[in-house]
């Protein structure tokens, strides 16, 4: 199904300008201005209460903004709720859009009818999603009996049934085990590869961002704290990779390796931790320089921890 332009220009699929939402005592979203182009895959991260879900609720027409502009698929989501709903798929990790006491396949059939899909087309789409998400065995089971991982896959299938241009996932992997997370991510990658669906994702799991998102938005106390690539985020806050080197015999501090800083020396210099910026040197170059000084027995590379990166952003802005 190709979506008709429906009055929307070929502009950004998500756009906010000076978007503000106040609650009784707090300002949840504070002059947020963001534009997301069709086809992008964006991770939207921040601490609890930073304003992520509030933003999503305004994007989907659930919540009235206090002031500012919000456009989803070029439409005002509050006034064009139904049109926006036809063109977006939304999953709130903690809320279900399925019918609790009906077999799963009936939820799909009902949703297909709600979205006015042609029966043949609906059947094909359901079959495809069920196949990709490996939900065949659960189709006849009532939704209330599904496990969390099964339910989450079903929720995402339900949100994608009508082939939306924009998929918004709010904490899709919350509470899932490693394997379920992995399957879900692979599915989302495939869906994006096939259909070019725009993805906006909030998560606390940095693995989601690393695997799925080409762009990261960091929100802090309702304000946009960062907008760029994941690597750029790490660069901005100076998050460095760390080379952990085990040496054959006790060695003095390796303080003169180019572009590195010694973080720690353990066991009389048997293990040393060297931090370096990936934009200045490479792990191989550091290793070569160390090898020239001492015999290396073992090594490990620690990647920047993104939660740490986010924390640094908060710290840099004088909080956290």
């Amino acid at each position: 199904m190709t979506s008709p332009p429906n009055g929307a220009a070929a502009g950004p699929i998500i756009e906010t300008v000076d978007l503000v939402r106040d609650f009784k005592r707090t300002r949840a979203v504070d002059h947020l201005s963001v534009a997301v182009a069709a086809g992008e895959s964006v991770g939207y991260i921040g601490a609890n209460g930073a304003g992520k879900s509030t933003t999503i609720k305004m994007l989907t027409g659930i919540l009235q903004p206090t002031s500012g502009l919000v456009r989803t698929c070029g439409l005002d989501p509050m006034r064009r709720r139904v049109d926006v709903a036809r063109r977006t798929g939304v999953v709130f990790g903690q809320r279900s859009q399925l019918w609790w006491d009906l077999p799963l396949h009936e939820s799909f059939t009902i949703l297909a009818a709600i979205h006015r899909l042609e029966p043949g087309q609906a059947r094909a789409r359901i079959e495809r999603l069920v196949d990709q998400l490996e939900m065949g065995p659960q189709l006849a089971a009532p939704v209330r009996s599904l496990s969390l991982g099964q339910r989450m896959r079903a929720e995402i299938a339900a949100a994608l049934l009508h082939e939306p241009e924009l998929l918004i996932l709010d904490e899709p992997t919350i509470g899932l085990d490693v394997l379920s997370k992995q399957r879900l991510r692979e599915f989302l990658l495939e869906e994006r590869r096939e259909r070019g669906t725009t993805l906006l994702l909030t998560t606390h799991d940095m693995g989601d961002i690393e695997r799925l998102c080409g762009r990261v938005l960091v929100i802090d106390e309702g304000r946009l704290a960062f907008d760029g690539t994941l690597a750029g985020l790490a660069r901005t806050v100076g998050a460095r990779r760390v080379l952990v080197i085990d040496l054959a015999e006790p060695t003095g501090e390796l303080s003169d390796i180019p572009h590195t800083a010694v973080l720690a020396v353990e066991g009389d210099g048997l293990r040393q931790r060297l931090a370096f910026d990936a934009s200045e040197t490479t792990a191989a170059a550091v290793l070569a320089a160390v090898s020239a000084r001492a015999q290396v027995r073992d090594l490990a590379i620690e990647e920047p921890d993104i939660e740490d990166v986010v924390r640094r952003i908060y710290a840099a802005s004088g909080r956290g």
């Binding site: 609890n48 209460g49 304003g51 919540l63 709720r81 049109d83 279900s96 709600i114 709010d170």
Partner: protein
């Protein structure tokens, strides 16, 4: 829309034991209530308020049959969804939530009529001498009237449920609603048996449209032009309450403050 009706039907058909329990209760109370009205009419020696003995018994048994069909007591689902914030999900669908819940409630009414209402009526017909609608036309108008009663009861309850947008707890209001609808819909006593002033209140309220009117048609108490009058009354209440529900729903949507995040 039809699919949503069917979904409501199927959802409620999964609770078979509840349906059976409902049927049993309805039938036991049917016997008790029918015996009381028969005793009352017997001691009066003639029809009371236009109800002959078979009509009064029919009024009781149709009432028992429709008790589970028409949603007199209100429902928890919408209230709970507003309170938990799940109502937000309903706004993510390209459909009007009122329409979605109405369709579901019509389905619920359907299964309750088939599995609970008809058997109760059958039991009543076996045990007592019931009056039946006097003509095929009366059957048809009666059926339409039952449908309208379902819509009116839904629309009223929907509004009460939506008050959760503004109130933390609507149980009190629901209770008042239940008491008023139980009294004024004619469930405990036919409205024509009320003292004059109480009858006036009932006549200006939506509750008779939820039970009294279809019962009067199905028990054969009303004929001719009166049928059109009560059905028109039901249509007016259905439209009024549905429209008011839309207004409240819209206000609630603007009011929505889903907690968290």
């Amino acid at each position: 829309m039809l699919l949503l009706v069917r979904a409501g039907f199927r959802r409620h058909s999964t609770y078979r034991l509840a349906l059976l329990a409902g049927l049993t209760t309805n039938s036991v109370f049917g016997v008790i209530r029918a015996s009381i009205v028969l005793a009352a009419i017997g001691s009066a020696g003639s029809a009371i308020g236009g109800y002959s003995a078979p009509m009064a018994v029919a009024f009781v048994w149709w009432g028992q049959a429709l008790l589970g069909t028409v949603n007199l007591w209100g429902f928890q689902e919408v209230k709970e969804r507003v309170r938990s914030g799940d109502i937000a999900v309903d706004f993510l669908r390209p459909l009007d939530p009122q329409l979605v819940y109405l369709a579901g409630d019509i389905g619920r009414a359907g299964i309750n009529f088939v599995a609970r209402g008809l058997p109760a009526l059958l039991i009543g017909a076996v045990l007592f001498d019931l009056a039946w609608p006097p003509s095929p036309g009366a059957w048809l108008v009666g059926a339409a009237s039952v449908g309208l009663a379902v819509v009116v009861a839904f629309a009223g309850n929907f509004i009460v449920s939506l008050l959760s947008f503004w109130l933390i707890e609507v149980r009190g209001i629901q209770l008042v609603w239940m008491i008023l609808s139980g009294l004024f819909c004619g469930l405990y006593l036919p409205v024509p048996w009320f003292p004059g002033w109480l009858r006036t209140i009932a006549d200006w309220s939506p509750w008779p449209a939820m039970l009294q009117h279809p019962l009067d048609i199905l028990s054969g108490r009303l004929v001719g032009a009166d049928l059109g009058l009560v059905v028109a009354n039901q249509v007016v209440w259905a439209v009024l309450l549905l429209a008011l529900g839309q207004v409240v729903l819209r206000a609630g949507r603007r009011r929505l403050e889903v907690q968290g995040g």
